[in-house]
Each structure stands twice: as C-alpha cells, then as structure tokens.
C-alpha cells in the first residue's frame, strides 16, 4: 500500500484534470473577508487537508464546496461543472459535521439510511447499503440504538457512515476528530485513511491540528487570513516551509534572525546575533541579496546538543546555558538560552535507558546543526 501511495501524485502531472477546482474564490461576510481570492485544485482520490488557525477561512471554503455558502466572487467547479447556484441537496458531495449533527429522533440505522431514502432507492438496496456501512464502521450491533445512547467515538462513526452511505464523489470532513480524546483520535486517523483508500473517494478534511493533517493527508493546504499560503505534501510543508507562519504553525521550530553576508560555493553565509561565527546554510533555491534580513528556521530535532566543544571544522555552532529540561519519555526537550538572550528548543531522542552524567540544568552547552538542516525564510 505504501508504494501505491508514494506514486500517487496527480498534482505534479500537468495532464491530470482536477476533480474540484476553486478559481479566484472570494467570500465576504459584510466587511470581513473570510476567503480571499483563493485558487486550488483537488484531485480524485486525494486526501486533502485544509489546515489553519481558527478564522483562517478553511471552514468557509468547505461550506462553499458543500453549497451552504455561495462565493462572493470566483467559481468552484466539480468534475468540470460549475457549482454556482446548485443547492446543497443537489450536489454529489456529502459532509461530516464537526458536531456530527446526528438526527436525535432517529436510530443509528435510520440516520445512515436518511440520505439513501432521499434518493428513493428500493428498500432492499437501502437495507443492504446500511448494513455495509455499519460493517465498515463496525457498529453492526448498535443499529437500533438512538444517537443519545452512543459514546462520542461511536457517534463519530455513525456520522461518518451516514456521510459515506451515498457514495459521494467528495466527502467533506469538518474537524472530524476534534471531539475525540487523544488515543481514539490517533486510531481513528488511520481508520479514516484506510476507509478513504478502500472506497477510492476524495476526502477534504478541515482541521486546525497539524499532527492530524500530517498523518492523514496526501497534500496539505495551509491557510491564513483567507488565503492558501502553501499547498504541498506533509513532508514538504514540514521540511520546506515557505513562510515563517507555516514553519511556526506546523511543528516546533527555532527561528534565528540574521542578515545575509553572501554566497560561498552554493552555501549561504548569514550573520546572526545568536552565533559567534556566521552560519552556513544549504538552501540553494532561495534568491537572496547581500545584507537582506532573513529568518533561519531549524527544527528542534535537527539540532544537536553537547557538553564538549565541537571540533574546529564545525559549522553553525551556538553556545548557551541550559534553561529548562523536559523529559517526555521518548524525547528530552532542552531549552537553551543563547548569549543573545534568545531561547531555543533542542530535542534529543532517548535512545538508551541510562545516560552517564546527563546534561544538567544551568550547564554551558554547544548546540550545532548541519547546513542542510535549516531553511532560510525571507522576511
């Protein structure tokens, strides 16, 4: 399955036609702009995540695809056909609501059958489809229960089964795991991926949880203030964030401010107040000019912390004092206060159970990172 997924990248195939295409879509509510001249292509069978802080417009974009809101400007097409003016009950798109929105006066079974009944399918077919859905979400035994008799996780499954029952071309999921506890959330993430793969549907998930987006998505669109700031695979978003907002929103990051000194053998030299010597950064795609203000982003796990001074050939050496230590079991987090006063975060995997004389509080330490561990973000 892994191999199949890896080769799945219709967005990099110029001849592929997108299933959903948003073109210059703007949505205003009175004076405020919820979605701002946004364009994006989403492909068939893709697991697409809209990620961003609350109020970034991700839910509004989803509601426009579902038909609950009409764009103020621009257009959305589904399989080449414009969705303008098509009411939600005529769109081949189904949604799983954040609150689940299960009908409290109907049993689990009737909730799942609701959409099928609207299509006036024959009774036998409805029953068969409901059974299939119950099996898919493993709720066969609870078919006759009412939603109020279910746990949060079970309700989430009913909501999913109800939205899947009509076999929509696109399934929209609004914070699908938001109401579940951590453990259940992790399990359900993988289940959602399996279901999506099994049914070969296009999933669009709205979430504010970057971990959720990273785990499940083929591609993530990071949104901020009504715009998409970057659309890319989880790996690209994490390792090659385009802006400081993305670097800081997705995962933990240390930002070192500095000025460009120049380029030597394809590597950028940057002077930063946090380091005694200029930093060497391997980020050849950036186009920078001398003395430009930049931010250097380094992920905590890509930094190395040590007590002994590194050798004379070492690049990117920061010195500081251990300010805080957090032991997380699998990881230990060190917060190091640099000479400049900035505090950076370094994590170290706890590979062995016992460490002789571990790094302690208030100790003087050296923090290093490789040239290709950092990303330069133009300010």
């Amino acid at each position: 399955m892994g191999a199949v997924r890896r080769s799945f990248a219709p967005w990099s195939d110029p001849s592929a036609t997108p299933l959903i295409r948003a073109e210059n879509v703007t949505k205003r509510f009175g004076d405020s702009v919820a979605v701002d001249n946004l364009s994006v292509d989403i492909f068939e069978r893709e697991f697409f995540c809209l990620l961003g802080p609350s109020g970034c417009g991700k839910t509004t974009l989803m509601r426009m695809i579902a038909g609950f809101e009409e764009p103020t400007a621009g257009r959305i097409t589904l399989a080449g056909k414009s969705l303008a003016g098509v009411p939600p009950y005529r769109r081949p798109v189904n949604m799983m609501f954040q609150s689940y929105a299960l009908f409290p006066h109907m049993s689990v079974e009737r909730n799942i059958a609701f959409g099928l009944k609207q299509d006036r399918l024959p009774k036998g077919e409805i029953a068969a489809r409901v059974e299939e859905m119950l099996r898919l979400v493993q709720l066969e035994k609870l078919a006759k229960r009412s939603p109020s008799q279910l746990s949060g996780g079970q309700r989430q499954r009913v909501a999913l089964a109800r939205a899947l029952a009509k076999r929509p071309k696109v399934l929209l999921l609004d914070e699908p795991l938001g109401a579940l506890d951590k453990k259940l959330r992790e399990e359900t993430q993988f289940e959602l991926m399996d279901i999506q793969h099994e049914l070969g549907m296009t999933f669009i998930v709205v979430t504010h949880d970057q971990e959720e987006a990273m785990t499940m998505a083929d591609r993530i669109a990071v949104m901020d203030h009504g715009r998409i700031v970057q659309v890319a695979t989880p790996g690209e978003i994490y390792e090659q964030p385009k802006t400081r907002f993305i670097a800081e929103f997705v995962g933990d990051v240390n930002i070192l401010e500095g000025h460009v000194l120049g380029q030597e053998q394809g590597l950028w030299r940057v002077r930063s107040s946090g380091a005694a010597t200029p930093l060497t950064i391997d980020d050849p795609d950036e186009v920078l000019h001398e003395n430009q203000a930049v931010a250097i982003a380094v992920r905590p796990e890509k930094m190395v912390i040590q007590r002994d001074p590194p050798g004379p050939d070492a690049v990117n050496v920061l010195t500081g004092e251990v300010w805080d230590i957090g032991y997380l079991g699998d990881w230990t987090v060190y917060r190091v206060k640099l000479g400049s006063g900035a505090i950076i975060r370094v994590t170290r995997a706890n590979r062995s159970r016992f460490v002789e004389s571990p790094i302690d509080w208030d100790e003087q330490v050296y923090v290093t990172f490789a040239p290709d561990a950092a990303v330069i973000l133009a300010e």
Binding site: F68, P88, Y89, S99, G115, Q118, S148
Partner: protein, 301 residues
C-alpha cells in the same frame, strides 16, 4: 445547642414540605370540599346544600351523601352535549392555535438572536391589559356594525354586515386570540433550542428544504407541540368568559353550564358535580401527556 440542631433539622425538613403544604391546602382541601358538595343535596338555606359537616355525627353525615347529582348529569343529555361540544370547540381551537402559533414561533426562533427577547416580550405584551377588556374589545370588532364589517365594506369586499358575533366562529377567534401566547411560548422554546446544523445535514444528504422541515423540524418540535396543545386545550374545555361574551346563547359549553347551575339555579351540588366531571375529563389528557413524556425521556437516557 441541642435545641438549635433540632430546630435546624426541623427547618430542613420543612423546606421540601412547602410544595406539599401548598398543594394540600390550596388544591386538595378545596377539591375535597367540592367533592363533598357534589355528593350533597340542594336546600333553601345558608349554605344552600345539606348536609353540613359536623364533627359530632360523622356517620350520620356520611350516610346523607349520595351520587344523585351524578345520576342527573348522566341522565340529562344536556350535560353530555355540553361536554362533547366543549371538547370539540377546544380541540378545533387547539388545531387553529397550532396552525397560527407554529409559524409565529418558527419565525421568532429564526430571528437574529439579539432581536428574540423583544419578540418574546411582544408575545407576552397583551397580558398587560385585562383579559376581560380584551375580550370585550372583540365584541366591538365583530358585531354586525363593528370595526371588521366597516373595514371590509370600506374596502368593497363585502356588501352586508358580517354576522360573526354570537356564533361559534366568534368563540374560535376569541380563544385563538387569547390563548396564542400559551401556544407560541412552548413552541418557541423547543424550536429555539434546535440545532441548525441538523437542517444543514438533511440538506447535505439530498433532502429539499420543505421535506427537511417535515422530517426534522416538526418531529423535533413535538415536545413543544404537545405542551402548547395541552396548555391551550385544557383551559379551553372549561372556558366560560369567551363563549359567554362572544358565543351568544347558541354556543353550548360545559363552563357556561356550570356557571348557570351555580349562579342562576343556585344548585351548588349539581354545579360541583359538573366541576368534578370536568376535572376527570381534563385529567385524562394530562395523564396521557405524562405517559408520552416519560416514554420519551426513557428512550433518551
């Protein structure tokens, strides 16, 4: 010290007893008095019935009580007709109230949240004027040369005066007008609590808006429909003022029968028997409602 804790315990036992005392003194005791009078015989005396309760001869007192008045009620078909007519008028009024009240409550629940308190205040506003005066006002509106006739003839819609006053139609108008808040408020309370995303979910699953209204909104509003209907139906069955003022002599209702037995005929025992009959009649729907409610709560939990 001991005295204080005893008085404290007494006080904490008294608090839950308050509602029972209230119900006992103001409902149960009067009910027993009415029940007793209904089992007595009329007399030209003060009070106008016999026997009068005396502590000395309880057995002799009890032996004088009989079911004669209830036999009269059953024997004379006037009371049966009055009862059936009351139930019919109350039922039709309740249906009319639902038809008028549901759209009002629905519109209120859909209004912007900041405007809703004002709308609720407007629904309650008529209570600031005396009920009697408001019903009298309807006489002025409905009478043959009244406001309604004037307006309609002025608009050229009718040629001759309307004969609404002193008909059953006038009673319906009066009841619907007077009882509307009791229908609107419970309906509004349930509709306002309803989650709008349920309708969105129905639309999303391919259900057009009008069908979503019937399959989602109406079933979920049922507790409000039942509460509002009972709040209107029960007092409407025993209504006296509206049929008396607007209904004319033709409109037969049990409340008017009770009034005339009590005041015109000065037959307190028979009037009490009518009151007891009415009470039994009204307890039945309440019991049904409680049963429905209990079953609903059972399925919820």
């Amino acid at each position: 010290m001991l005295a204080r804790s005893v008085s404290k315990r007494f006080a904490s036992a008294l608090v839950p007893a308050v509602p029972y005392l209230w119900l006992g003194l103001l409902f149960l005791v009067p009910f027993l008095i009415v029940l007793k009078i209904s089992l007595s015989d009329p007399a030209v005396a003060q009070p106008p019935y016999r026997p009068v309760f005396e502590w000395g001869d309880i057995l002799g007192f009890l032996s004088q009580l009989d079911l004669e008045n209830f036999e009269t009620l059953i024997g004379d078909d006037l009371y049966l007709r009055a009862t059936l007519s009351s139930v019919r008028i109350a039922a039709i009024s309740t249906v009319l109230l639902l038809l008028v009240g549901f759209p009002v409550a629905y519109a209120m629940a859909r209004a912007p949240a900041r405007r809703r308190p004002l709308l609720v205040a407007l629904v309650i506003l008529p209570f600031w004027t005396s009920f009697l005066i408001r019903i009298y006002a309807w006489i002025a509106i409905l009478k043959p040369e009244g406001l309604l006739t004037q307006v309609l003839t002025g608009m050229g819609l009718i040629g001759k005066p309307l004969a609404i006053l002193n008909t059953e139609a006038a009673v319906y108008i009066g009841i619907v007008y007077a009882y509307l808040p009791f229908m609107v408020l419970p309906l509004y309370a349930t509709l306002e609590k309803m989650d709008d995303t349920l309708i969105e979910a129905a639309l999303d699953l391919g259900c057009p808006p009008w069908r979503a209204f019937w399959t989602i909104t109406v079933p979920l509003a049922m507790p409000g429909v039942v509460a509002g209907s009972l709040l209107c139906f029960i007092p409407a069955v025993g209504e006296f003022v509206i049929p008396d003022l607007l209904g004319g002599s033709e409109t037969l209702m049990i409340g008017r029968q009770l009034w005339s037995e009590f005041f015109s005929n000065r037959d307190w025992p028979l009037a009490s028997a009518v009151a007891i009959l009415l009470l039994i009649l009204l307890v039945v729907p309440i019991v049904i409602y409680r049963d429905v409610e209990a079953r609903r709560l059972e399925t919820r939990s």
